[in-house]
Each structure stands twice: as structure tokens, then as C-alpha cells.
Amino acid sequence: MDDIDFFGLRELFTRNRILLCFNGPISRSLIEEIGNALKNYLHADNAQPSAAMDVFGAYIEMTQNIRHYALRQGYGEAESSATILVARDDGGAYVVQAGNVVETADGEQLTARVGQLAGLDKAALKAAYKEQLRRPRDEAASSGAGLGLIDIARKSSRPLAARLMPMPDGKAFFSLQAVI
């Protein structure tokens, strides 16, 4: 194994103002524990209660979407992994980003959905949210990640950004970024 450039990793974290980063298999309890750490960071960072709740909410919706997807797909531990990052950008806004391995077709559908949401203003997002909320549960579940995505979009100060990186075996790495 190559020696890890630990100092370089630290520099990378510092330069990008990364508050929290995680990469690996994610369980229900781990989501809660990391969520707790995030709450404490935000508190120590003197974030406004409403901003702190939006950042926490974006984190919860992203990670629970990843968990639900992995469970639905019957993925093993390695594929149930998530990569999570919370940072501050140059302007002091919070950036919440999460990614996971998905089937390419699902990733393409998700990316298209994020693109659609990016074109909606706050009023249209609220209408989409209420419409999705009224959909029957089984229908909402099959489309996947519907309500959570709209919720994250509503909390964001900028349009959501999604990326899809091809991987072997018909899979892809999907990542979503929200700026709060």
C-alpha cells in the first residue's frame, strides 16, 4: 500500500473548509451519530438555528435516501457505502454533499430530476413538494427519493447540482451538492 499523504490530506481539508467528511458503509446509527457531530459543529460555528436546521435536514435527507436506496437494491456492505461532506464555501455558505453507488439508469433518472428541480423557483418547489406529499405511499416509494430531493432543493440557496461518474459493471457514482 502506498503511504498516504496525510499532511496533504489535512491541507486539502483545511483549504476547502471541510467541517466533516465520511466515506464508508453507513448504518442507521452512524447517520445519527454523524448527525450529532454535525449539530455540535454547527452550534460551535454559531450558525443561526434555522440555517443549522436546514444543513442538518439536507444531511438527513441525503443520507436516508442513500440508505433506502441501498436497502431497496439489496446491496451488500461495500455498495451501501456513502461519501458525505459538509464544508463552508468562500462566501461562508454551508455546502452539504453526499454520494453513493447506483445503477447507471437510476443515476441518469436522478440527475435528470435534479436538473428539473434546478429550474424551479421557491413557489414552484413548494407546489411540487405539496403535490409529492399527497401521492400515495407505494407510488412515492417506487419513484424513489422524490420528497427528500424537493425538500433539499427548498432548503438550498442555490440550485442543486448533481454529478454522475461512470463505474464498471453498469454502475455509477451519483453525487448531490446543496448550498445552504
Binding site: R28, I31, E32, G35, N36, P49, S50, M53, D54, F56, G57, I60, E61, Q64, R67, H68, K126, K130, L133, R137, A140, L147, G148, D151
Partner: protein
């Protein structure tokens, strides 16, 4: 379930207390369980039993919810739908939602629920 019950709070679930004799259901704290539908099933069944019971007694929800994930929001909407249905049949139902004035997100959350309800729904700031 024609009795009272108490669910203590956990990291990701709110405290719930249902008082059959008083006709009050109180929910307080954060709510973001992975499976909200399962978590709220007992509460929804309790409300259904209470509203189906004879005596036409009033039901009041005392809510101090803070952060809710989207699946909790959906479960809460199911609860308000039950209240709306009972209200349409002439039953006295009401909601009192208390929020910390330092966090306007909670007030907005409560207001969005209230938009779809025609029964008495009070939203009050409380430190």
C-alpha cells in the same frame, strides 16, 4: 388501544404521550426516524380509536415538534387528514403547535401544515 400511552424520546424520535381521559395527544422534539411510517403507526391507530369511540369527545393535539424529516412530515400529514375528516363530521378537534421564536423554520413548517387544515390550528411562539 383505548388507553393512554407514553413513548420516551430518542435521538431521532420525539416524545409522545397520549392521554385518553383528557383527550390530548402531545408530541415534542425532533422526528427523523429512518422509517417514520412504522414509528407513527401506534399513534395513528390511537387517534383512529379515539375518534371512533362513542361519546363524541374533543381531541386536542399539543405539538412542540422541531426538526422533521420528510417521512415524518408525511406521517404527520396522515394524522392531520384524520383530524380533518373528523372535523368534517362535526367532531371537535384542534391543534396547538408551539415553536421557539428563534427558529422561524419551525413556524413555517407548522404554517404549511395549517394551510391544508380547516379545523382550529393555533401556532404559538414559546421560549
Amino acid at each position: 388501544m383505548t388507553t393512554s400511552f407514553n413513548i420516551p424520546p430518542s435521538q431521532s424520535t420525539p416524545a409522545i404521550s397520549a392521554d385518553w381521559d383528557a383527550g390530548v395527544l402531545a408530541i415534542s422534539g425532533d422526528s427523523y426516524p429512518e422509517n417514520s411510517f412504522d414509528f407513527f403507526t401506534a399513534t395513528i391507530e390511537w387517534i383512529e380509536s379515539f375518534l371512533a369511540a362513542s361519546g363524541n369527545r374533543a381531541l386536542r393535539l399539543d405539538l412542540s415538534l422541531v426538526y422533521m424529516n420528510t417521512s415524518s412530515v408525511k406521517a404527520m400529514m396522515d394524522i392531520f387528514d384524520l383530524l380533518e375528516e373528523a372535523h368534517a363530521k362535526g367532531r371537535a378537534v384542534s391543534v396547538d403547535w408551539y415553536y421557539d421564536p428563534r427558529n422561524e423554520r419551525v413556524e413555517i413548517l407548522a404554517e404549511e401544515f395549517r394551510e391544508d387544515c380547516s379545523f382550529p390550528f393555533n401556532i404559538t411562539a414559546r421560549n
